[in-house]
Amino acid sequence: MGAYFVRKLIEAAAVCVAVSIIAFLLVQSTGDLAVAMGGLDASAEDTARLREVYGLDQSFVQQYLSWAGRVLHGDLGQSYFSQEDVLTLILERLPVTATLSVASLLLGLLISIPAGVYCAMKPDGWFDRSCLGLSVLGQAMPSYWVGLLLILLFGVTFRILPISGTQSAASYVMPSLTLAWFVFPVFLRLSRAGMIDVLSSDYIRTARAKGLSERTVLFKHALRNAILPVVSVATVQFGFLLGGSIVVESVFSLNGIGLLAWSAIQRSDYPVVQAVVLIVAIIFVLLNVVSDLLNAALDPRLTSEQ
């Protein structure tokens, strides 16, 4: 178990380093940073001083190392636009996006897993067909379009839900529904396929041969193995939701990191974009480690040394 954990952590760290290099390159590729930092009305001397202070005259590797050093100390630079500390900006917005992601993920899982399991028990039944049809449809609908249709329906026609902002819990209902609709097909298909696969396996036949009740066979022997792939995909999807919330946050004007990143991109405020890319990637990598650990806890095959 220990060796397995250490190995996963080393892999995760290597990916983080690689991601940080890409994030660093992203800003490097945008042109002369000293000009960008100083603004258009800065004098030549000011620009030169900025260049010296930030080490922009140094070699590329040196620049990366000193940048990485600052990042490790929590200094992700300042916004070109508002001169605010980037980390502070992100930490302010992160709870909004996290709430949205967690809510939609839970909503998606709570609906799709029981539905998928039920589908697997009666494949090709009417319920199975409807669920599969719904998931094919769900995969084809752009998430922002679903969001806009929800706004039209609940915000404009019935006027029962707020169409933007984060003032109350109700503001999260439509955005969460939108994202949940988006993850539903993924989990439905996974849990359905996993369950069908497990139900046809030899060890389920063994459990039946022992004369166990159908309930024990289903819930004790089948479900746990069928749910394994869902666990790893759920954590990974959570990462995607964090990074992919841009669209939904912009549709509902939710003040999360997605909206922050989008407005930063539009303003060419690259330190903010860089920081969001870096942080979302690191969260994703950490979630993967968590997912590996969860899987290891559920599947004894992964950790033992033969």
């Binding site: 892999e11 690689a18 084809a140 379009w145 992919g244 669209v247 912009s250 990143a261």
Partner: protein, 294 residues
């Protein structure tokens, strides 16, 4: 000795395709829809009633014909008075070109990486695993937006950016598939026959992983169409005045309350196209990989 020995259909026999089509409603619907979209895209200039770029201040925000409009503009007009139906028809071209182009480029990137990793194994495999891990860690939409902002938008850049963010599935699946095929005895047999490694790759391994490529291609094409529309919607994909469906929805947002049809119709168009591609992909998978084991 169970059922499988009597009803085994382990191989895939292309000659039986027409017979297997029967009873596959989803696949047939998908094929018909997709053919329709391709037809519209190819013959757009002959089908479209108006020029998609001509603005008319006199004819702004006309409703569709079923909501009180006229047959002059069957789907109404947008905020600049351009014929909505014509823009929708020309938009088919953009969606298909971007979807096909991005998926094709992603196929090349992902297949190459996956097959190299699967067949060579060892260090190549570990290097590709690492690249895949990095690709998955990076928030693709965010990165795509940033690259488009820095490099500028245009059909070509959008295609490249989408390909760079959509090749991972090819690599993951083809690595496993090609490794599995490479360990088959018929590959060792071909080697023992004196076939060169290139020939083995070309005529033993590639034909046997092609079905995976086709299936993932349809899936990723659908994803790329959706992602391209999302980029346009966020204002950083295909730029105005091009009739991109995502852009049309973005423009329609301002008139959400006055004329909801502007976003509804474009959204439906995207949904139908993606649905068609996905149905064809699902159908192909069922045709190639027979369902169930007994």
């Amino acid at each position: 000795m169970t059922l499988s020995s009597t009803s085994s259909s382990r191989g895939k026999i292309p000659r039986l395709l027409p017979a297997r089509l029967a009873g596959r409603t989803g696949f047939c619907i998908g094929l018909v829809l997709l053919t329709g979209f391709i037809f519209i895209a190819v013959f757009a200039p002959f089908i479209a009633p108006h020029d998609p770029y001509t603005q008319s201040l006199m004819a702004r925000l006309k409703p569709p014909v079923w909501a009180g409009g006229t047959w002059e503009y069957p789907f109404g007009t947008d905020g600049y008075g351009r014929d909505y139906l014509s823009r929708l028809i020309y938009g088919t071209r953009i969606s298909l070109i971007v979807g096909l182009g991005a998926a094709a480029l992603a196929t090349v990137i992902g297949t190459t990486l996956g097959v190299v990793a699967g067949v060579m194994g060892g260090y190549a495999n570990r290097a590709v695993s690492f690249i895949i891990a990095i690709r998955l860690a990076l928030p693709s939409l965010l990165l795509a937006l940033a690259i488009l902002q820095i490099a500028g938008s245009g059909v070509f850049v959008v295609v490249v950016v989408l390909a760079v963010t959509h090749w991972d599935r090819f690599a993951v699946v083809l690595r496993t598939a090609s490794r599995q095929v490479a360990s088959q005895d018929y590959v060792i047999r071909a080697r023992a026959m004196g076939a060169s490694e290139m020939r083995i790759l070309r005529s033993e391994i590639f034909p046997n992983v092609l079905n995976h490529i086709v299936i993932i291609f349809t899936f990723e094409m659908a994803q790329c169409i959706l992602a391209a529309a999302a980029l346009s919607f966020l204002g950083l994909g295909i730029q105005a005045p091009e009739p991109s469906w995502g852009l049309m929805m973005s423009e329609g947002r301002a008139f959400l309350v006055i004329n909801p049809w502007l976003i509804t119709i474009a959204g439906l168009a995207i949904m139908l196209l993606v649905l068609a591609v996905n149905l064809v992909g699902d159908g192909l998978r069922d045709l190639i990989v027979p369902k169930g084991r007994s």
